[in-house]
Every structure is written in C-alpha cells, then in structure tokens.
C-alpha cells in the first residue's frame, strides 16, 4: 500500500470508527483511538522522510483514481509526498498528536468525546488531503473539508446558539474565499488544461503565459487564502471561532488550518514569483492584517480572543514574508508559529480548565503559584512569540523583518511596530493571567489546580520545540550557509528564490531593533500590568474603546453587507416575488374574469342555446367545406 494512502487512511479510519461506534465505546477507548490514529499517521510520515531526503527531487506519488474525466481532461484524485508536503504533514500530524493527547484529558468531562475525536480526526484527514493532494482539486477538497470540520468543531457545543452563529460565520467567510479559489482554478484549467501541480506550475515557470493571466490567477487564489488564513477583510471569523473547544482553537485556528493559505502560496511559488502585482497586494494586505490584529489584541480581555488576534496578526506576518518573496521564511514562521501558538492555546486551555471554564483575564491573576508548569510553558511561548533572542520566534520573525527591510522600508517600519505591539499584548496577557494578585470574585484561588500529565506533557513538548524550533532554519549570519529548511525546500521551488543576505552591520542593526522591540514590550507591560490588583482597563473611551470593540469591523460588515442582503431578501420576497410577480401574472385574472363573464352569457347551461350553436356550427363547417374545398 502506498504510504500516502496509509497516512491518509489512519485519520479517516479514526473518523469512521469513532463516528460510527464511538458513542458505544468507553470514553478512554474512543479518545485514545483518535489520538493513536494521528500518531500512526505521524509515524508513517516520518518513516517516509528518508525516502524523500536522499533524493533531491524525490517524491512519492499516488494516483488513487480518476475523480472525473471531461473528454480527456482528467481530474484525478492523486497525491504526492514531496519536500513541501511532508514538512506540512509532519507539522499537522505531529502537533495533531500532541493536541489529541491533550484533548483526551481536556474533553474528559464532555458528554460526547467520541464525536469530538471523530471530527478532529476528520479534520486531520482533510488537512492532509489539502497538503498531500498533487493538484488544485484535491487541495480544494481538503480546503473545503477543513472548513467544514472547522464549522463542526466551532459549533461543537451545538446547544449554544451563539456558538452555532460563530461556526456559520466561519464557514461562510471561508466560502467567500473558496469562491475566489474556485474561480482561480477555473482560470487555471482554461489556460493550462490541467490542475496538476506538476503540469501547471512548470508551464507557468516557463514564463510564456501572459502576465495578466498569471496575476489574475494569483490574486484569485490569494482571495482563497485570505478567507482561510483570516486576512483583511475576511478575518473576523477567526476570533469568533474561539467558541470551539480550546484544542480545536490550538490545532485548527492556530497551528494548521489557518496556515493553509500560506501553504497555497508557497506551493504556487512559481506563479507568485512571476506576478509582482499580486505579491505587492499580498504584502500590503498582510501588513495591514498584522497591524490590525496586534492593535485589537492590545485591548482584549478574553484569553482566547487575545491569542486569536495574535494569530491573525502573525498570519499577517507570514503573508508579508510571502509578499516580499521570502517563501522559505514564511514557511519557517508557519512552523515556529505552529509550535508556540499551539503551546499558547493549549496553555490557555489549561488555564481555562484550571479556573473552571472562565476565560476573562480580568478575573484571573497570580495563577503562577497554582499552575507552575502551565506558567512556565506559557512563559516560554510568550517569549518565543515576542522574539526573545535565540528562541524560535526570534529567528523566524527576524528573518521576515530582514526580508522586508530589503524590500520596502515603510513596510519594515510598520511591521516593527506590529512586532512591538505583539510583545506588548503578549506580556500583558501573561502578566494579567499569572502575575499580580488574584482578582477572581466568584471563585477562590485555592480552587485553581494544575492540569494532569496528559495536558502538561504536550505543553512541555511544545515548549521545548518552541525553544529549539529556530534551529530548523538558522540564519545565514550564524551558519554562513543556508538554513536547513531553506536547503530542504530549495528543490521544490521552480523559480529560484532570491534570498537576501545582508552584511553583518545591517544584520546587527536589525537584530538590535528586534531585541529593542522585545524589551520595550516587556517593560511597558511590566510597568503597566504586573502588579495590577484591580481589573484591567475595559477600554471605555477614545482609542482604547475602538480597540476593545475591534474597530467595529463586525458592526460595519453587518451594516454594509449582512443587513442589506437580508433586507434584499425580505424585499425581494415580499415585494417582488409575492406582490409584483404574482401580481403581474395574476392580474390577468380580472381580464379572464371579464371574458369569462361574457362567455358565461353564451355558456349558460341551457341546452337549447347549445343546440343552436351546434347547428350553426355544423352549417358553418359544412358550408366552409362546400365553398372552400
């Protein structure tokens, strides 16, 4: 059996088994089944590593069947495990395993963990479909599939109507992006007659395709990426998606699914490298998102919402990297972000668990004594994301900044500011949650407890990864050669990736800026929040209010898009469909009635009249026959 099939099979099997029999199994069995399947998938993927590593162009491909066939235009269910997809696969299954393990404990008190694990497995399956598919169609399958799973998991506690609304919002916003992706695919088929990566991308790389086509395709695909990766203007679903269970937020809305957009762009590196206009668009959209997410994150009091906006912002960082053509860097940041953001989310989950399902940091504080492991790991995550030197986030973010610096100085300044905000809000979160005095009113500090090993073990592992993750792609100035990831990915890029290597002085300058940013964030938050005994500001006035209300973007969307559509729906239904169309069509009614009344004079039911008509008609017909035959 093809290894790709095996990798895909395990999560699918987990989904089916848990979905069909799960509710009859004991909780422990069903949940460990779910975790085991992902682990097996992970192990399978690792076992294929060497296969790919030894051969520069090595990849394993698997053609399952023809999905459909249009007069020889084949749409195949085919898969490939190449350097890029195995990287993603390892992230997905690796972090997936940890999060499954974590969920075993986290979902223990839920009524229906089997359902949860079957959804989660199905998500992993779809995510793997997305990265393993060797054509745009399979990728789209996974793309929509993860959206669906995201819908299911956000709305997992389905009895809460607002969770359901959040789930639907996520799905619909994703669908807007999907439409762009779909149209992009149609354009690809129209111009290249195929959806296979290894047919389309080389054709693009040849450079004979017109620039308009490539740019349009690139922008359309990017619209898809915007939806999935929560970029402006399609980002508002992601914070709402925090309605789902925390492991879901960690896996789907931080580590894997939301990075699908980055994967897409990296996969289509050849296309984007030849479409500078699209790149520029990506750069500025990413930049705006990074800034906006960070700004809003400053004034959120829900522990998960802060992390959600942080994710939005970090995704913006990644797109900025893509926008300046630093594909490896973007993927590097995807990787490190997967580590530390999963860590942060799981840590947040642990906190939420510890304080009995509360999420408002205004009611926390001083938890570090009660939850030491969670605190330390959370601290590591915060340091990593804020760019503490030599931690993973430091390297990846620094690389992005360096690349942007060479590309556009204004963008660089803005991005540095966003990074500064990142450090600020992350330390604000950390200090408000773990430091200072306990601010809870309706529960006692002594009720807070550390989570069990199933939850802390993933935290520890992820913390270690967050610390060491930078080693995956050490910068040029340290090693005087390309980082591991860069050389690993090099064969998959059809167009040579132009890597900027600045001289030592610039590099030191950039690093010192980064360190300064980190320190500023730390100091600012420390002074402001570390010893706060009262609740943090709720943002009641001025700019703070705007930030706390997320720039009113949801309200604006509501007013500008949702309401008009609903209004149109009502108007079209009541006025147009019912009154007008019905009216026009059945205004024939009076006319018919009138002629009917005339008719009734003739058709009066009296046989005598009928007889006269009959005779007259017979005479007429005979006469006609006679005189005109």
């Amino acid at each position: 059996m093809n290894p790709i099939a095996i990798i895909l099979l395990f999560p699918l099997l987990g989904f089916i088994l848990n979905g069909v029999f799960g509710h009859k199994l004991p909780k422990l069995v069903s949940s460990s089944l779910g975790a085991l399947m992902i682990l097996l998938s992970f192990v399978t993927a690792i076992s294929q590593w060497s296969q790919i590593a030894f051969d520069i162009n090595g990849s394993i491909s698997w053609e399952a069947y023809t999905f459909f066939n249009l007069d020889g235009l084949l749409f195949r269910a085919s898969f490939a495990l190449d350097r890029l997809s195995i990287w993603m696969t390892l992230i997905i299954t690796g972090i997936g395993t940890l999060i499954h393990l974590y969920s075993m404990s986290y979902m223990d008190h839920d009524k229906n963990p089997a359902k949860f694990f079957s959804y989660l497995n199905f998500f992993v399956f779809n995510m793997l479909l997305l990265v393993l598919g060797s054509n745009f169609l399979m990728m789209f399958f996974g793309w929509e599939g993860v959206g669906l799973c995201s819908y299911l998991l956000i709305g997992f506690w389905y009895q809460n109507a607002s969770f359901g609304a959040a789930a639907r919002k996520a799905f619909v916003m994703n669908r807007i992006g999907d439409l762009g992706l779909l149209l992009g695919m149609f354009l690809i088929v129209k111009n290249f007659g195929s959806l296979e990566y290894n047919e389309v991308l080389p054709a693009i790389a040849e450079g004979s395709t017109s620039n308009v086509v490539i740019t349009s395709i690139a922008i359309l695909l990017f619209i898809g990426a915007m939806g999935k990766s929560a970029q402006i203007p399609l980002f508002t679903w992601l914070p709402d998606a925090m309605a789902g269970p925390t492991p879901v937020s960690a896996l789907i809305h931080a580590a894997t699914m939301v990075t699908a957009g980055i994967y897409l762009v990296v996969r289509c590196q050849a296309m984007y490298s030849l479409a500078p206009m699209a790149q520029e668009l990506i750069l500025w959209v990413g930049l705006a998102t990074a800034l906006l997410g960070a700004l809003i994150g400053l004034r959120q009091n829900d522990i998960k919402k802060v992390l959600a906006y942080s994710t939005v912002s970090q995704l913006g960082f990644m797109f900025v990297a893509l926008g300046v053509g630093a594909y490896t860097t973007a993927l590097f940041h995807v990787t490190t972000h997967a580590f530390f953001k999963a860590l942060l989310f799981l840590g947040a989950g642990s906190v939420i668990h510890g304080v009995q399902d509360r999420q408002d940091i205004a009611t926390m504080g001083g938890l570090k004594k009660m939850m030491p492991i969670t605190y330390i790991t959370f601290l590591v995550g915060t340091l990593a994301i804020s760019g503490f030197p030599l931690l993973s986030g430091f390297f990846s973010k620094d690389e992005i900044l360096a690349n942007v610096f060479h590309h556009n100085i204004i963008a660089y300044v803005v991005l540095v500011f966003a990074a500064l905000l990142t450090a600020t809000y992350m330390f604000r979160l950390l200090f408000l949650t773990f430091h200072g005095e306990f601010r809870g009113t309706d529960y006692k500090l002594s009720d807070v407890h550390e989570s069990n090993w199933k939850m802390t073990l993933p935290l520890i592992i992820l913390a270690i990864l967050s610390v060491l993750g930078g080693a995956l792609n050490l910068p040029h100035y340290l090693m005087h050669q390309e980082g591991f990831l860069a050389s690993w990915l090099k064969p998959t890029f059809l167009i040579f990736e132009h890597a900027e290597h600045s001289d030592l002085a610039t590099e030191i300058g950039l690093i010192s800026v980064a360190v300064f940013v980190f320190l500023f964030g730390w100091f600012y938050s420390r002074n402001k929040y570390i010893s706060k005994s009262e609740s943090p500001e709720s943002g009641s006035e001025g700019i703070a209010k705007v930030l706390a209300n997320k720039f009113y973007i949801d309200e604006i969307y509501n007013k500008l898009i949702v309401r008009p559509i609903e209004f149109f729906g009502d108007v079209l239904f009541a006025l147009f469909d019912t009154l007008l169309l019905y009216g026009i069509t059945f205004s024939i009614n009076p006319i018919l009635r009138f002629t009917g009344r005339l008719n009734r004079k003739i058709q009066n039911g009296n046989i005598e009249y009928y007889l006269i008509y009959m005779v007259g008609a017979i005479a007429l017909l005979l006469g006609l026959n006679l005189f005109f035959a």
């Binding site: 009066n604 039911g605 009296n606 046989i607 009928y610 007889l611 006269i612």
Partner: protein, 108 residues
C-alpha cells in the same frame, strides 16, 4: 317502381327529406316542450329514413342495405322514444314542467 314515376329523380327525394329534416330541426330549436322536441327528433329520423329508402331504390341494391338501416333506425327510435318519454315523465314528476329551458343545470 311504378312506371308512372319513371321521371322521378333522386334529387327530388333529397330535397324532400332535407326540407323535412330542417323542419324537424327548426322544431327542436324552437319548441320548448320536451315531448314536442322528441316528436321533432322522430321527424328528423323519418326524413333520414326516407332518404335511405330512396337511395336503396336508386342504387337498385338487392341487398337492400339502405332499408336494413331504416329498420335499425326505427328500432333505435323506438327505444329512444321509450326512454325519452320515461325521462320526461320523471322530470315532470319532479318539476311539474316539461319545459326544457328549465333544465339549465349544465352551468356548473
């Protein structure tokens, strides 16, 4: 045929029966008394009968197909008269009228 009638032409019978038929038809259209209507129908049938007999003679048909038809028409007419009168009697019993204009229940 008697020899004195050798100058008779088929068209004369045609005209005669057409006139008879039309008179019967006029009666059907004009009169309201159901019994008279029936009588007019009988008249029309007889007009047809006459023509059939005339044509039998005209064709010199030894099978006498035309006359056979006359027989059958008479049979049908007799049956029709019987049933028709029975209906009239019944209607009269219910409505005390034999006026057909009263029977306009076809309306709905």
């Amino acid at each position: 045929m008697l020899s004195i009638f050798h100058s008779l032409e088929i068209s004369h019978y045609i005209y005669l029966s057409t006139v008879l038929f039309s008179i019967g038809l006029f009666g059907v259209l004009f009169r309201r008394n159901a019994i008279i209507l029936l009588m007019c129908i009988e008249l029309m049938l007889n007009a047809v009968n006459l023509l059939l007999a005339a044509f039998t003679e005209y064709m010199g048909d030894m099978q006498a197909n035309g006359q056979m038809f006359v027989f059958f028409i008479m049979v049908v007419a007799a049956a029709e008269a019987a049933v028709g009168l029975a209906i009239i009697v019944m209607v009269y019993r219910n409505t005390r009228k034999t006026d057909v204009s009263f029977l306009d229940q076809l309306k709905d």
